[in-house]
């Protein structure tokens, strides 16, 4: 075992889309676990859109990563030293170890994995935070009813694909939006969406709306909001009375800077238009941050774990190689280049 670990730090705060210069690979001594702590050798780390938010200094739901600090994130790996009686070397665990080859966390902050229950990477995607986000937001706030229409973008991502599959299990018509024909094919053929629209084929919110209107002849009852931008603007006029909008992210706006900037898809009258639609159609819009709801996580695992085991809920992973390539994989994910849940193999 090497005494040196590698980790990626935030070199500076990005303006717009992150670039290579915003990250720096550093070395450090492998940390030693203190009392009650566990040292893990990371095998796989997760890349998720929320991390873009952590790079900014704006008010958000979590403290930003400090400049010079290790990029945050969930990861899975093998316990190599433990001062917590619940963990022994050789155990596999999930924890917030960051973009790093090694990490130390208090034992109570990490979760043991059973490798017999499937690939450990599932803890980063389909049965981890993203899958939980999709399941929780859809069931808690979307309240899908049989026969209703559900729209979700980033349809092949780990959140969108969970939303679509759970909505199908509720008897809904499910229309996805994704970038490019290959992803759209995956949404329909792998994840069972009724239809999937390639947002690149539509120049603006108006065209997006026309395509969505055709795909949703009975209007939209639930719009699971994870991208914003022209999909949001396109879908809002199609919302049915009493529609629900769980809001868990806005990937298309993340690169716009802390508080927007590149919006304006629809001009300066978008805000009153949007607000008026909320009123006229009696919409219920629920912002949520999944980290508020971990008390429901075991319920999710009980409900969805067996569906994954039986193959009723599918998942697709896009696994990059090498910690040093994590920044590029992250930038690519923000541009939608990944196919399925973006993961980096670290070991």
């Amino acid at each position: 075992m090497s005494d040196t670990m590698k980790h990626i730090v935030l070199a500076k705060r990005p303006t717009g889309a992150p670039t290579d210069d915003d990250f720096r690979l550093e070395e450090a001594p492998v940390p030693q676990p203190g009392e009650g702590e566990v040292l893990v050798r990371v095998h796989y780390m997760s890349l998720d859109p929320y991390m873009r938010g952590r790079m900014d200094d704006a008010k958000s739901y979590a403290t930003p990563v400090p400049v010079g600090g290790t990029m945050e994130g969930g990861a899975v790996g093998e316990v190599i030293a433990s001062n917590d009686p619940n963990f022994a070397p050789g155990d596999f665990a999930f924890g917030m170890f960051g973009w790093a080859t090694h990490g130390v966390q208090p034992g109570k902050m990490i979760r043991k994995l059973n490798p017999d229950h499937g690939p450990i990477t599932a803890a980063l995607g389909v049965l981890g935070m993203p899958g939980f986000t999709g399941w929780f937001g859809l069931t808690e706030y979307g309240k899908p009813q049989a026969g209703e229409t559900v729209v979700v973008a980033a349809a092949t991502g780990p959140v969108g694909s969970m939303v679509g599959q759970i909505a199908k299990a509720h008897g809904c018509r499910v229309v996805g939006v994704a970038g490019g024909p290959e992803k759209c094919k995956m949404a329909v053929e792998t994840f069972g969406f009724d239809e999937c629209l390639d947002h690149r084929a539509y120049a603006d919110a108006k065209e997006m709306r026309a395509a969505l209107a055709e795909a949703c002849p009975k209007g939209v009852d639930v719009y699971f909001e994870n991208v914003a931008g022209k999909v949001l603007e396109g879908v809002m006029p199609l919302m049915n009375v009493g529609g629900r909008i769980p809001v868990c992210g806005m990937i298309s706006w993340y690169n716009a800077g802390a508080l927007g900037g590149n919006a304006g898809e629809g001009g300066k009258d978008q805000l009153p238009k949007m607000w008026r639609m909320i009123l006229v159609n009696r919409l219920h819009v629920h912002g949520f941050i999944i980290s508020d709801h971990w008390d429901r996580y075991s319920e999710f695992l009980q409900a969805v774990g067996p569906m994954v085991a039986k193959g009723e809920v599918k998942f697709v992973e896009d696994i990059g190689e090498g910690l040093e390539n994590a920044p590029r994989a992250f930038m690519g994910m923000l541009e939608g280049k990944n196919k399925g849940k973006q993961i980096v193999k670290v070991i």
Copy 2:
């Protein structure tokens, strides 16, 4: 009894703020009640912001008033002929008789009033649709908890004053927004608001926000949305995590034309800013139209009727004289010239 009635019709659809030319006073024969119908001589009619929406042709929650049609609205008056056994001449009733001296409605669509229970005008305001709107939206979607801070604009109007008083009854700190020092004084002295800000004293959303921030040192837990514009933009950044926003109207945008137009208070990045705040602060935004919820009206009357009778819930009425002056009173109300619930005495 005259055989002729007067009514005000929509002469044409307004562009922006309505003007005299958009209305026309007409005469017609007094209609006769058909089977199951009741003829009422109107004593008082209500003027409400939602009527501005009815003048436009845009998709809304209700059919627009046709050009040449009688302006819609609630009114109270005396039954002068009845083909419904539940109503007899001399009874007083509330119904949607419109801007008119007389009206016919099916008996089952009108509600008998007991003049012993207070002035019949209360059925247009504090114990009518506006009061019900404030009570329902606040309790159902705002869910005020003792110690929380509630903000409501149009604080001396019949919706805002109900919201403020019910919120106080729940043990909240209540901050109102109103137009001009006189109304602010009324909000505090008559309706018991903790504080009331004069929105005219603040040039833009930024100044509005600074004043609200000072008045709400613990942030805002419930923003009851009935005006939009700079109050909305000012209050959004102050919302606490888990905040609730019942949305019942947007008077400041009503005159902007069907789907916005004069917005832009904060520039073209307002929409992503707003959406991001919904996410970051896990806000719950609920559009509602009170006409969906009449099944809860008797619950409202039971809860709030006694509070009004005991003087625990105050109300203020601004009563104009003469049907022919209704358009001017309406235009004035949209500009905030009324003090309290705007009513027109018709007889």
